[in-house]
Amino acid sequence: MFTLGIETSCDETSIGIIKDNRVLANIVSSQIAHTRFGGVVPELAARNHIKILLPLMNLALESAKVGLNKIELISATRGPGLLGSLLTGLSFAKSLAIGLSKPFIGVNHLEGHIYGLFFNKEIPEYPYLVLIVSGGHTELIFVETEFKYRTLGRTLDDACGEAFDKVAKMLGLPYPGGPYIEKMAKEGDAKKIRFPVPRPGRFNFSYAGLKTAVLYYLKDHRDYNINDVAASFQESALEHLIQVSKKAIEYTGVENFGVVGGVSVNNRLKEKFQKLAHAMGFKLFIPEAQFCTDNGAMIALAGLRRYKRFGPSDISVDAVAREPLELISKN
């Protein structure tokens, strides 16, 4: 079934086209901003999503070699995310569905990320745990069977990716800072500075304290070594993910574990989780980078799976700023 997926929950505008679970096109606006449209997509995304959606869709159809009349299902993110941004993608999708007389389905962004795990040959078996870790989310989800979710823990303050961005800012690095921190960290000594590994309790996460610890360090050490700070911060930030994940794997006894979201592109994260997987004997799933960060293909697949099981969404479905997975969990 040819499915078009539209993702506009935050900064990135993305369109994916899939046939069943095969990806035919998956284009993110920031990737092509410098080539085809010129300029950078600014932060205040809503107005720019509107401008970019139609040309982006045409580009995706072109690259998938699929005519718009072939599309059989239109899927769009309905939340959680930035309301103005969500509304543009959602309204675009609905108009398209009405115009083409095709079914429409609204998708939860977090569920979309989870389906980022399903483009590989090897896919996780139920039940499994998935860590969603990005600039906007840090959540640990127990997936009992398809569509049945329980959030074991989430951040109590800053998201993990947000901490990367803010520490990068303190170090004078550009936004988004994650990739720069990783690059600096490679040249640094992670054991040089002892930043605390957060311990907020249960299966929750917390990054505000670590962020402030880095700030205090920079204030006290005017001649700090940027590489060592980046490496030491990164190590503590990732170790926090590892410690909570380890506890949750022991608690649930799952044999499959997935990591998705923008931060899962980080190579040190992959190394650390591979090591943990080896030590504990679970199977680790981390999608390739294009399915880790926000993308339209994952929204297309999540929409398709949900459509096949539950049918289309009502056309009046609204955008939501927050929607924990429990709200869409089926028994």
Binding site: E43, D157, E162, D165, K166, A208, T212
Partner: protein, 153 residues
């Protein structure tokens, strides 16, 4: 305990020193008691100065039970307590990104609007809009100086 030393000369300005995130949270809960429908709070202060912690306290004081997380990524979060709260964070925005003020569309009638990084926009920095202006500063590790100017109508 929150120690208070009001600056006597200018009415409506109060200065507080808090010595832990817990105390900042408690001050937030106290601020919540002063609030009236339609109030806007303008928070400024460097990274790590406790803006989100203070916001969390205000929200808890308004009877919101949900976890109040940073809004930097999503820019705005909305909560329902005794009054509605829009928690806006301008951290990632630049003035040049916005054709108008990026907060008007999130203003909810009868609700409370809390804007972090308000100093990114000169309209707010220059105290043109009536509201409560709060600036936060790190004076020592764990100590924060919090200056509150009540410029409501």
């Amino acid at each position: 305990m929150v120690s208070m030393s009001s600056i006597k000369k200018i009415p409506g300005i109060k200065k507080y020193l808090t010595n832990s995130p817990k105390e900042t949270l408690r001050l937030g809960k106290r601020i919540a008691q002063w609030l009236r429908p339609d109030d806007i709070l303008f928070l400024s202060g460097e990274l790590g100065s406790g803006k989100t912690t203070l916001t969390r306290g205000i929200c808890q004081g308004l009877g919101i039970r949900e976890t109040i997380t940073s809004s930097s990524f999503v820019i705005v979060s909305q909560y329902q307590g005794r009054m509605k709260v829009s928690h806006i964070d301008l951290y990632r925005l630049k003035e040049s990104d916005c054709t108008g003020l990026p907060v008007e569309e999130y203003y909810m009638a009868g609700g409370i609007t809390i804007i972090e990084w308000a100093d990114r926009f000169p309209q707010f920095l220059h105290r043109i809009v009536p509201g409560i202006y709060i600036s936060m500063r790190i004076t020592k590790p764990d100590q924060r100086e919090i200056i509150i100017e009540d410029l409501r109508n």
